[in-house]
Assembly symmetry: D3
Homo-oligomer: 238 residues x 6
């Protein structure tokens, strides 16, 4: 039995609230158990230097943990004057995941920024951020279409993320913080709505894992992504 | 008539939600019209170098605007690698305001951090942050008392803040963003629950104001603080 | 009796030396008791991005304390790699104060920088900096007129600043460092030559003050600004 | 046929030169085709704060691309004043990979730094860096044993890394830069000498991949790591 | 004839004003023609880490150009967030020059900081800074002796600096800015009061010079240092 | 007898390997005894702002010590977030030395970057870097000529550097680290192939030196540069 009484292949309760704040064309509160992340989209009518004048757009993300999101205060990166390696990794991952399902040419020369701010952290903040970011991105793209700024929807698919891991030699889906802290292996999976892989990141924590364990985690991830994709769909229909 | 149909001396609707997040001993969502700020308290069992070994405690604050809080995205200060002058000014103001009503010796050698993160900004974010921070501070102090960490309550009074200004030559209470952007004078008042001044900051925006206008703004501020103090009290009683 | 034998409503001896250095179109040494500040104007034929192509000019200020200005050496902000919150606050205040009396459109698209470098600090450095900056600004504006760069004088008024405070429950004008260090309230007033307010900043140092104390400080500030304005006028006439 | 005439499952020529520089207890030049990386070990008789006084040691890595390593000069991160997200990701990956095969308690309270400096870059610099770092680590550990600083060898296994990817819908082993630049999927595998996974990182470049493609890449990686492990072994025997 | 009518081997008028500011134990205004530098000494009762607990002291210097010191404003290094290469070079040179004539062991474990702030710049700021710093150092050392903090004078000699250069193929002493800007060779000499070399720095500006030219500049420098040493002596006697 | 058995006027064995790496038009490994530096040239089709649109080119250098180049690890300047004063000094010196022998107008509006990365440090890294940089520059200039990018060779001369010093009152040529660490005087000479001076930098290490000692070091430097120039010539002929 898991610390929060879930089965080995059970997701935490997942809710997605749209229109969470007022001034963004896509603003989501995603809650995965005790992990809560605000994802907001902002549209900027320019693109980064490396694609200027190519006619194509860009989707990028930033991630931050609010200082009070964790039981022990997390020092603010603005005060420390630099973004940590961990934050860099996460925001690059979110950006790549969103671009993987987006035909950037259809977006034209503009950038959609997705900001993921974690207000409560209980493990799985990066996967929740990706899952929520997709919905914020979908809303902001619809806003562009409604305003006749773009004609065609650049989103080719949905995208979602979930973790799986090995804890006490057992494969588990969607680790909470207490599980993550003692996990032997921690893997994050980013997958499209039709079950293909966009990103796989697996790390043995002073541990190495074998083919069979990998296979179990892959299976759990596939199951989890299916369920999350359904929740995204329902959130977007309402 | 004001843009949001308020009378000249009328506050925006003000609500204070306690226990907004789970891992902080004092976590507040304060909503003042469309301005929304999360204020969370964190306790650290050490103090800044300048008061080390004096037996006295410290209360300090940090302030940040989430990128999606404004209609045009606000660049993240962590990405820019430094805290702006405006942020410095605001977080120093919040910290001084809270220390003014706190007997730091009773807190013993520990620091209470108050983090104010604006998730939606429609003017008056610094005054809302102060008003909400007081409630977060009160909750965290009560938590220390409940846990028997400190014996006596170090809070000598309550503290709250409100703005008043001159817009089109008329003195108004509690400016929203549209009013603030065209104001001739913008003043912020920080006052204790018993009507004394802790901070007064008034700025003519390419404009200078006279004694009479100052008197009107002082009167509005006193009225506003009275009402806000009542709302703080009620929030803390429930 | 005050530490330096002044009366409660008496300014420190105030002298303004023009043409203090040779390469600036407005270079002032202002001495207010033992506080000494060099204020120099520099003219740059461009404006900050936010007003580019609007045809209007800009006035801005920077402030710094020389390391040897204080009995204990003040570490250089260039060596620390960042400007402190206090410096940010002060230089923003000086800039706003100068812009308040300046019709920036008449300046055309150019920037006047006022650099305030404190060579000796005995309290009141920011108010001395504002008072001296006005004279440096006036000299640099006259230089532009003499050179036929601009036609009309953009300065609508003079501006000066002074502090007032409550020390041992007594309201005093123009605090020196020893008084400032023990003050219950410290207020800074920036006022125009015709007695209107541009900025009011009052801070209770772990103390809150009432209406009556505020009134006393306002009266002292008005008296002080009158006298300082006269000294500025005389300095500019010679 | 591949750009460099290799078969789909063929590694680039891989050579490992030990004792490449003189002042390090473990200094390696690893050459994988045209990719060349210097890996040097340095020993520091202290540990990072988070494990101080736990009696355990630490292994960490830093990674850098020399400016002239690429056809177009890569700006120096020291001159830019900050380490990029990509560098952060890579050096964290190298560090985790080495710690996964190391019993840090046997190292006692000291840190082994592995510096990976790329002098010529043709794709696969991070995997070459990991493979070479293991040999540098092994040499520095042996140096500690030879000097009687530690008694037992803390290395539990060897570790190596290789990439596999999908290029033009074909699964390939060990991508060079030209292949990497057009790859649909790029995966990096870090594995122990006995064939277990330490890290898996797979990224679809604006592409998503399926189970079958994943299986092919896993198979290639296993083959590649076997061969690399042999080369490491031989290098260490001579 | 030179731009300022000096002979080829003539120094600019040089004056040294002691006790220029009030709060430093050694505060000098040095004026060399139109170049003016404030040199102040500060004493800190600690030493840098690399000599901690060795019983020996330290002398170090920092250098800065006030923004208004030059006809075109020099941007503040604190605002740019980093100290330039030129500033680094100069302050390291000043520090080495002062330490060369100081028996640091006699200073005991304390640091004397010399801050050189250029308020007006017309070439030769670094040499004026060294010449003035010596006097500020001598005054601060005397202050320590007068206060019985140290017993013996750690200064073994005096130190001064001067430039010589080749302009239009002619060797000149003590270049002003207009000469320096067109010089083919610019050399700085730091010498002790008894005519020995502490530092020699010569740079051909897109030019190379021969033995004979070097010999001429050495001769000029020796003459200049003799005269400057006399001025330092007289300043310290009064 | 010297630590490495050299005579007082003997250089360390000096070898220059061209085409050390593959992607740079000028890539040199220079070995001077145990000091080893990689010098690579990169060509950028733009120039720094201060010479934009003047039709002239630029040559600049950057210098870095690899962390493992020294017996005790040297912390990476990218991780510290800033370039040290020592590094600034050295890279400015290398850049000036190369520009002194280059007719920048013939280079047209482009920049040649020379990157000097020290992989093994035993004293004299800056002089080896200059000597090697000249060869890398010569190769990159020839590359430009071969590609018909420029017509005339902008190099007017060769340039090389060597150190001389006073150790135990004896003048020595080309100090290794053990000698440098105990030297009373350390001088660096940068000279052209026809025996003229480009840079002279001499520093007494808490020591002052006289005319006679200076003359001896000048003589040693002239002898050393002659021999080094021959080695550069031969390297470029092969």
């Amino acid at each position: 039995m898991r610390v929060d009484n879930r089965k080995y292949d059970e997701l935490r309760p997942l809710t997605i609230t749209r229109n969470f704040t007022k001034y963004s064309p896509g603003s989501i509160l995603i809650e995965s158990g005790n992990t809560k992340v605000i994802c907001t989209a902002s549209i900027e009518e320019s693109v980064p230097p490396h694609i200027k004048n190519t006619g194509t757009g860009w989707v990028t993300a930033e991630y931050s943990l609010l200082p009070g999101a964790t039981p022990t205060r997390t020092a603010r990166e603005s005060s420390k004057g630099k973004v940590s390696g961990r934050t860099h990794e996460i925001q690059r991952l979110i950006g790549r995941s969103l671009r993987a399902i987006c035909d950037l040419a259809l977006l034209k020369e503009r950038t959609i920024w997705i900001d993921c701010d974690v207000i409560q952290a209980d493990g799985g903040t990066r996967t929740a951020a990706i899952t929520g970011s997709y919905v914020a991105l979908a809303d902001s793209v619809q806003w562009l279409i409604d305003k006749n700024v773009i004609k065609e929807n650049p989103l080719l698919n949905s995208v979602a993320a979930v973790s799986a891991g090995i804890v006490n030699n057992v494969a588990l889906l969607d680790l909470c913080y207490a599980e993550d802290a003692t996990a032997q292996v921690d893997m994050n999976f980013v997958m499209t709505g039709n079950g293909k892989y966009v990103e796989i990141q697996g790390t043995g924590e002073e541990y190495a894992f074998d083919e069979e364990q990998l296979a179990k985690m892959l299976k759990l991830a596939n199951k989890g992504i299916c369920e999350i994709t359904e929740i995204q769909k329902k959130a977007l229909e309402t």
